[in-house]
């Protein structure tokens, strides 16, 4: 790894550790990282929008004499009148075009995707030849089809509040509640896995790309600056921890804790 690559990797490592420091409490290192992300993201988005959209899809096409693109240009400019109290009515025209087209395209497609195709999926014939499927809870299996149908009906009955949830109706509603709970449990399990994945990725980054390269003397670009940069970051963090310990001893746990 070349020096400047390692330098920026060290910057990334510093901000990784600075972000993790929030788990102890809110602090200036975390604030720097947070503000940098917001600022860089906003600036990056503006530049990406300019270079990938406005230039090739509008400016270049107008330069080629395709004057039809004046219509979206004018509509886009009219949007800016929202900032004027007197002329804000002009922004309603592009909004009307946008909402009209959006609703016209979205309503039939959303209906087909999220209602009709889902109803089809729930009411498919039971596959008796492949009743248990290829594996545990194979979604193509006949057994899964029955479970999904019964579960969907029971789940819908749970949300039917025009009749008291008693007797057989109450039992089915309770079964529906259990089905919902299973769904929430699956979502929670996946969410835990997702959060752990973020931690794993950062551990892999720190080990594979930062620590390994800081002490990799077989690297042809390696100089004494590599470990110096590494130790600078570590010393900075240790200094912050010592500062927190001193603050804790002076002011007590109530003022320094904050996240309990």
């Amino acid at each position: 790894m070349e020096f400047w690559n390692f330098f920026w990797t060290t910057v990334a490592a510093f901000f990784t550790l600075a972000t993790f420091s929030f788990l102890y409490k809110d602090n200036p290192l975390y604030k720097i990282a947070e503000h940098l992300v917001v600022g860089v993201s906003a600036g990056f988005f503006v530049m990406v929008l300019w270079h990938t959209t406005l230039v090739p899809n509008l400016i270049d096409r107008l330069a080629d004499g395709r004057w039809i693109y004046l219509i979206p240009l004018v509509l886009g400019l009219m949007m800016w009148f929202r900032f004027s109290k007197k002329l804000s009515w002009m922004s309603r025209y592009p909004m009307a075009v946008y909402i009209g087209i959006g609703a016209g395209v979205a309503i039939p497609l959303e209906m087909a995707t999220k209602v009709i195709r889902q109803l089809n999926g729930m009411m498919r014939p039971i596959d008796w030849e492949n009743f248990f499927g290829a594996g545990w809870l194979d979604v193509t299996a006949g057994f899964s089809g029955i479970l999904l149908f019964v579960g969907a009906i029971a789940g819908l009955i749970y949300f039917f509040f025009s009749k008291a949830h008693t007797g057989v109706f109450g039992g089915v509603a309770k079964f529906g509640l259990w089905i919902l709970m299973l769904g929430f449990g699956a979502s929670f399990g996946f969410t835990v896995m997702a959060r752990i994945s973020l931690l794993i990725n950062r551990i892999q980054f720190l080990d594979n790309e930062w620590i390994s390269n800081a002490f990799d003397s077989s690297n042809e670009h390696y100089t004494v600056m590599y470990p110096i940069l590494f130790w600078l970051v570590i010393l900075g963090l240790v200094a912050y921890i010592v500062y927190e310990i001193i603050a804790y001893r002076r002011r007590g746990p109530e003022e320094t804790a904050g996240t309990t």
């Binding site: 788990l23 102890y24 959209t53 395209v105 499927g133 290829a134 969410t191 752990i196 794993i200 990725n201």
Partner: protein, 294 residues
């Protein structure tokens, strides 16, 4: 016993964070400890869709995620791209997420480097070769407003993307000669952690009818399983586990398989904390009497 649980119920949550960090780092260092992975049918379907394609076939890969999701989604992108390039399958790539082009560019460069080296996967020797821009892949770049871009790509890639990410007009890319729109590709694989997935279903699959598969972050995986049952999706990779399954199928161990060891230990740690918390809740509630709540 009760006094111990009462103390535990008041435990500062930062001790839990510290415990997770210690277990995470310790289990990460157990490099020789392998976790068995059971491959699900929905992951196998995506692998099979690429594995069974003829050399020279074209697939579409949308890298619709930002760096905040790369932990789970980058391994999927790497595994799918390497599998496709090794098999001689060509890829049309886009990014409908603002920071996606950086993710895609990084993945293309890394995989191009990897494919230069001779490697054996599943007992088949794949000689190293150059992956050529415009021939093996076309990276079209980013455009905002995913729904509109998906609708336009359903008609013709050239409407939203007159030129590729590097500024070359699509007409000059050999790969794009016979590839007009999304339906011209064998299948569409979308890797995302946002509601762009909904847009691909509604504005892409429902309108064009092409075979669609998702690689999703763990958080959003569960809500897309109904689309497998209805046939709107032919495959689904869920979070780091999905990526690990693909790596195992492709015989190409990477960051996801490496991370599953840590997942195992950290899940057990969290389960232990949940059990302690629940037992502590009931034990201390009994002590406070029938009124129960704190």
């Amino acid at each position: 016993m009760k006094a111990t649980f009462e103390k535990l119920m008041l435990l500062d949550r930062r001790w839990v964070f510290l415990a997770l960090a210690v277990v995470g780092v310790a289990s990460y260092s157990l490099k020789d400890f392998q976790v068995p992975i059971l491959v699900t049918n929905e992951s196998r379907q995506i692998f099979a869709a690429i594995d069974e394609l003829e050399e020279g076939a074209t697939i579409f890969l949308s890298i619709d995620y930002d760096p905040n999701s790369l932990a789970e989604l980058h391994p999927m992108t790497y595994a799918i791209m390497e599998h496709a390039f090794r098999r001689g399958v060509r890829i049309v790539i886009t990014s409908l997420s603002t920071n996606g082009p950086g993710m895609a560019d990084e993945a293309i460069r890394a995989i191009a480097d990897s494919v230069r080296i001779d490697r054996e996967y599943n007992g088949v020797m794949y000689p190293g070769r150059e992956v050529v821009n415009g021939v093996d892949y076309a990276f079209l770049g980013y455009k905002p407003y995913p729904a509109i871009v998906i609708l336009a790509m359903g008609q013709d890639f050239r409407i939203p993307f007159p030129a590729d990410y590097y500024g070359t007009p699509l007409e000059e890319l050999p790969l794009m000669e016979n590839v007009r729109n999304l339906s011209s590709t064998e299948c569409v694989i979308v890797i995302t952690g946002t509601n762009i997935a909904d847009m691909w279903l509604a504005y892409g699959q429902a309108r064009q009818g092409f075979p669609l598969a998702f690689g999703l972050t763990g958080v959003s995986t569960a809500q897309y399983y109904p689309y497998l049952n209805s046939g709107q999706l032919f495959g689904l990779l869920g979070g780091m586990l999905g990526a690990a399954e693909y790596e195992q199928l492709a015989d190409n161990p990477g960051l996801a398989l490496d991370g599953m060891r840590v997942q195992l230990f950290l899940h057990w740690t969290i389960i232990i904390f949940i059990v302690i918390g629940n037992v502590g809740f009931f034990v201390t509630r009994k002590r406070r009497g029938a009124g129960g709540n704190v």
